[in-house]
Amino acid sequence: MSLLFETTPDGVSRYFDWILNGLCWTLSLALGAWTIALIVGTLVGVARTLPGGIWPRFGRIYVETFRNIPLLVQMFFWYFVLPELLPQRIGLAIKQMDPPWGSFVPALICLGLFTAARIAEQVRAGVQALPAGQRAAASALGFGRIGMYRLVLLPQAFRIILPTLTNEFMTIFKNTSVALTIGLVELTATAREINENTFRTFEAFGVVTIVYLVIALLAWQLMHRIERAVQLPSFVSGSGRK
């Protein structure tokens, strides 16, 4: 692993700094997109459980669109296609954003909305898994629709879907690598660059593989802690967990 401390071709940094830089972009993209995904995903998921009207239909269209098109194609849509379809002035402004923001912002929106569709499905499943009595009881207590979701249904639904959310949270770090196709130099792109500069394939890809492993482990640990912290005694048996 001596490669890490050798000087890069530009002469001012070490490969270690490249990896750190790549890691920084991977983490920012993943955490930023996760925030968007949680907010949008919850809204869309709730929309899908509303009784009748236009919202469930809108939610379904959203989910089907974002789930049935590969992430990479969506990436290209936000990066290449959208600026062309917008009015010329706005499109040009988007294209002229300074790197790396020119690739980071589309990647952030893309990954956020993509993951939102998957979270929406889980939120819907979580809400639907609750007994109908919960909804009725909330109504009887005088909660409006917003209060019912915010204080009664969602807190329980999220506890049910935490294990699948954990999975999704770990996936988002891996999915950030797709952003390399639109020019963001995140971790995987860094490995490729180091390999192209040094031809030391094993070390370059080995280090980055280990970094991904550590990220996965930490992400899992974090979610596991959250899971235990929010666990309700009455709920453990109710959800059938052992």
């Binding site: 089907e64 669109t65 789930r67 049935n68 098109i69 590969p70 992430l71 990479l72 194609v73 969506q74 290209f76 849509f77 290449f80 296609v81 062309e84 379809l85 770990m170 891996k174 999915n175 950030t176 690598s177 797709v178 390399l180 196709t181 995987t188 490995a191 490729r192 390999n195 394939t201 890809f205 980055v208 593989t209 991904y212 492993l213 990220i215 996965a216 482990l217």
Partner: protein, 228 residues
């Protein structure tokens, strides 16, 4: 900007070649992935400590790193590995498609393994006991009794994973292969038709995946009904 439909029509034959390659990768990935994945699942459940640890490590490793990284690994390692086996250590030039097939079998097997393992765990222990009582060997028990039941119980999930695999094939873009997306990209860059090409590719992927996921949904309903 106007969308020019004629650009799509003239690109259709090339896009079709790309689509065929996409389907080929999917097919190889599914077949190889399920076979290798099932072996991994059996290994994980085996009494042999070493075997189960190795299989677990493999599955967890593959599931922790991005597919693009695996594509790069295989892209650089396969020529080297084949050279080491046959050519006395000198790397051998290998076509992109072989690299891709190997990648998808190795990568998807880890995901299929988890699904098949869930299938095995859904089988009641009585089935294992019954196999013993009938005097079936381990191999016979797996082939004739356990595996068919395990597969059937997780069939919808296996198919959903296959839709994911179909979408994942677009990532071979990173080694410039000519799958559906690769073909579209090549035309888009040659003719300056980014909007038309990426939109039509999006529509094609959507139609395939939407149809497949509706099918899975129906199947799921039917299987659930059959069991009750």
């Amino acid at each position: 900007m106007m969308v020019d439909l004629s650009a799509i029509v003239s690109a259709a034959p090339f896009l079709l070649t790309g689509l065929l390659f996409t389907l080929q990768i999917t097919l190889v990935g599914v077949a190889g992935g399920i076979v290798f994945g099932s072996l991994l699942a059996v290994a994980r459940l085996s009494q042999n400590r070493l075997l189960s640890t190795l299989a677990t490590a493999y599955v967890n490793l593959m599931r922790s790193i991005p597919l693009i990284l695996v594509i790069f690994w295989v892209f650089f390692l396969v020529p080297w590995a084949i050279g080491w086996l046959t050519n006395g250590g000198r790397p051998v030039a290998v076509g992109a498609s072989l690299t891709i097939y190997v990648t998808f079998v190795l990568f998807e097997a880890a995901y299929y393994a988890e699904i098949v393992r869930a299938g095995f765990r859904s089988i009641s222990t009585g089935q294992y006991a019954a196999c013993d009582a009938l005097g079936l060997s381990k191999l016979q028990a797996y082939i004739y009794v356990l595996f068919p039941q395990a597969l059937l119980s997780v069939l919808p999930i296996l198919l959903t994973q296959t839709i994911v695999l179909f979408q994942d094939t677009s990532l071979v873009y990173v080694i410039s292969a000519t799958d559906l997306l690769g073909a579209a990209t090549k035309i888009a860059q040659r003719d300056g038709r980014l909007v038309e090409m990426y939109l039509i590719v999006g529509v094609i992927y959507f139609l395939f995946c939407y149809a497949a996921s509706q099918f899975v949904k129906r199947l799921q309903g039917r299987l659930a009904y059959g069991v009750r």
